[in-house]
């Protein structure tokens, strides 16, 4: 796996979302542990998600009816 393939496939996002297959996850881990660029992607994504969970939990207006217009 190359850095380009990882970025093109948005594998950092798939990894953090738990969307990768077992095989993809293992291949991506094998890659990103040795890829500074992908480590950055993972770290920023993890940081965003950690904070987003906290913020989303507090957002008062997030719930809405299903047929609400977006």
């Amino acid at each position: 796996m190359t850095h380009f393939e990882a970025i093109e496939g948005r594998l950092a996002e798939g990894y953090l979302l738990g969307e990768l297959t077992t095989e993809q996850r293992e291949q991506y881990e094998e890659h990103y542990f040795g890829c500074p660029g992908c480590v950055e992607e993972i770290r920023w994504g993890a940081m965003f998600l950690a904070n987003a969970r906290r913020v989303l939990w507090k957002l008062p207006d997030i719930q809405g009816t299903k047929d609400e217009t977006f």
Binding site: R10, E13, E19, Y32, F33, A52, V55, I62
Partner: protein, 191 residues
């Protein structure tokens, strides 16, 4: 967050046990190992055990004559050692279960991050980014990460596909990073 390439000089200091380099090494890989382990293990104690054992083995191997010698493969080596320790953990937890199909410690695919990643400032940045998203996108994130709805159901409910979720996270992450760096990473979190 600094890009890190491991060169021969770093490697030598690490092998010699230079305290600052060892601290950096552990700090660099600690978060990666936690992210990896939390996608496979639920028990905080199990995560801690595997993490510590991984570091112990890697550092021991680095100092052994027959151990790893190529600085460029350091990251791959850490990952490989962690995989071995994980397998041993599974085996010791239950000798009779086949790991791939019956993990002893069921994986929690949701990646929960450490408190160390969260500060008032980073929450403020994220709040700004979330405010800029459409209501639909905010509700998608809420449905996945707070309500913990199955992603198939979320996609169906909001009329999107799984790729949309990755793109949504990617854009939000990039905006967050840009916002953070715009302020020069004030109130930096520990990384």
């Amino acid at each position: 967050m600094e890009l890190q390439s491991f060169d021969e000089a770093y490697f030598k200091r690490l092998r010699a046990g230079d305290p600052a380099t060892c601290d950096h090494f552990v700090a660099y890989f600690n978060q990666l190992l936690l992210i990896k382990l939390r996608s496979r293990l639920r028990s905080p104690q199990a995560i801690e055990d595997v993490r510590q054992e991984t570091f112990a083995r890697v550092l021991t191997s680095l100092r052994n004559e027959g151990g790893i010698r190529n600085p460029a493969s350091l990251g791959s080596f850490v990952n490989s050692v962690c995989n071995n320790v994980l397998l041993e953990h599974y085996r010791s937890s239950s000798r009779n279960l086949y790991l791939e199909d019956n993990p002893v410690d069921p994986p929690d695919k949701r990646i929960n991050m450490d408190e160390m990643l969260i500060t008032e400032q980073t929450q403020r940045y994220v709040r700004e980014i979330l405010d800029q998203l459409s209501k639909k996108d905010r509700r998608i994130l809420h449905a996945i990460f707070i309500e913990e709805k199955h992603k198939d159901h979320v996609c169906q409910e909001f009329g999107v596909n799984r790729d949309y979720l990755r793109v949504l996270l990617h854009r939000a992450k990039q905006s967050f990073r840009a916002r953070y760096e715009q302020d020069g990473g004030k109130n930096k979190t520990k990384k």
